[in-house]
Amino acid sequence: MTGISAKQTPTTSKKSWRVVDIVVAALIAVAGGVIFWAWSQGANVITAPLNAVYPPLTGLYAGGWMIPAVLGMLIIRKPGAALFCETVAATGELLMGSQYGTTVLISGLLQGLGAELVFAAFVYKKFNLPVALLAGAGAGFFCGLNDSFAPWGWNIAYAAGDKAAYILFTAISGAIIAGALSWIATRGLAKTGVLSSFASRKAATEPVFS
């Protein structure tokens, strides 16, 4: 079959964003922002014991913030999705009142970049479990770097060893909470048929490792 009328309009490249990509990515991100916000509120309650014992352990909780980056990319599969989703999610958190002030935007941008670089390293062709885990870890790693070394980072005053421990914990948390959960969610979503207009519609039947 040939698309007679389709040929008469400029054909969009497979890498460019359609309106549906933008809106769904934004909603994942904004919903992520709400979850973030709840997560930040919860952060104080849940991380208080961790904080009291050994503050770098709070890094283990950080993965929740990075879900939009990985989930957005696994669903949309267009260059920039991780960066866009995470930045929008941070904007959403800012709108709701963030304990990190406007610096939450920079954290969001960097976390998104961490995940984006991993997907870019696989030329946006691989979206399997190991890549999702790596992307989560990438986001977590950048989150840890930002928190430990940026002037606005909350852990800027930690001793070097504690910083290293914190970064390790955020990377682990990113891999598991943001990476694995997003990957599982994407497969579940693909089975429901809601991803039928996205490149990820076949995610449920893709091989796990290759």
């Binding site: 964003w17 359609r18 309106v19 549906v20 933008i22 809106v23 769904v24 990515a25 934004a26 909603l27 994942i28 991100a29 904004v30 919903a31 922002g33 709400v34 979850i35 916000w37 930040s40 509120q41 952060a43 104080n44 991380t47 208080a48 904080n51 050994y54 503050p55 709070t58 669903i75 866009f84 929008v88 904007t91 959403g92 800012l94 709108l95 709701m96 009142g97 963030s98 304990q99 990190y100 002030g101 406007t102 610096t103 939450v104 940026a150 002037p151 606005w152 909350w154 852990n155 800027i156 005053a157 930690y158 001793a159 504690d162 969610a185 579940g188 979503l189 809601v194 991803l195 207009s197």
Partner: protein
């Protein structure tokens, strides 16, 4: 949920362009971020509290909306106090915990700085309507309008999703999924509920995208029914932001407490 933070009504600062407000707040934030000391943070905090009435916020409203931030700042101060390299007299030393006079001062400065960074963002958002922000970002900051407006439209669905979250919770209880139980059961229940919400969110967003495209959205050219403008008020906002930032730095240098983060952490 967002409604909890944005005030309706016309305060002075709500009439300024969101972009200039953002630049002013960001400037204060950056300056405060450079140093961990209680003087610069306290000065900035003082000025910020003075500005809140201009954004239509009262101290009571501020407490109701801001207490999680205050708690977070306190915790941040605590972790810094016990983890920063010790200088001066050791006040407490229990295993991996140690607090010295130096690290305590650092922790205190840290806490105040956290507040002084968090509160202007609350101020900014309580007097900024997302629609105006989007107008400014697309028309003045020249961000791609498809992305800005797509995000703005998606944001409108969030309030709806908060309602739907509650409905899904009830609907699942009616299927026998309890939200009460052991922490593990509760986490599983929450994940299931989140998945249900995600399905609805993607469905809705896909339909919304169709609606937008059917209204001609997605092309390169578009006009704006409402123009995002700058006014003399915006100059005052920028001047105000710069003055607060400068006052904070000047006070800290004058008091001899200016303490660049990299120097502070050695």
């Amino acid at each position: 949920m967002r409604a909890a933070l944005t005030l309706r009504g016309e305060s002075l600062l709500s009439r300024a362009n969101p972009l200039t407000k953002f630049v002013a707040v960001f400037l204060i934030t950056l300056v405060l971020a450079l140093s961990i000391d209680w003087v610069s943070a306290t000065v900035a905090l003082g000025f910020e509290l003075l500005l809140f009435p201009l954004a239509g916020l009262t101290p009571l409203l501020l407490w109701q909306r801001g207490w999680p931030l205050i708690l977070a700042a306190a915790l941040g101060g605590w972790s810094t106090a016990i983890l920063a390299p010790d200088t001066g007299t050791i006040l407490l030393d229990v295993g991996i915990w140690s607090i010295s006079s130096g690290s305590l001062e650092l922790g205190l400065g840290f806490m105040l700085r956290g507040l002084a960074i968090a509160l202007p963002a609350v101020l900014l958002m309580s007097c900024t309507d997302p629609t105006d922000l989007a107008d400014a970002l697309a028309q003045k900051a020249k961000l791609p309008h498809r992305f800005v407006l797509g995000t703005l439209a998606a944001m409108r669905l969030v309030g709806l999703m908060a309602e739907e979250w509650q409905t899904i919770g009830m609907a699942r209880r009616a299927r026998g999924v309890g939200s009460r139980g052991t922490p593990l059961q509760r986490i599983r229940a929450t994940l299931g509920q989140s998945f249900g919400l995600l399905v609805q969110a993607i469905r809705r967003a896909s339909r919304l995208a169709v609606t937008m495209e059917a209204r001609g959205f997605g092309g390169a050219q578009r006009t704006w029914a409402r123009e995002s403008t700058y006014s003399p008020l915006d100059i005052w906002v920028l001047v105000g932001g710069t003055l607060i930032a400068a006052a904070a730095v000047a006070a800290a240098i004058g008091a001899g407490t200016w303490n660049l983060v990299w120097a502070a952490t050695g």
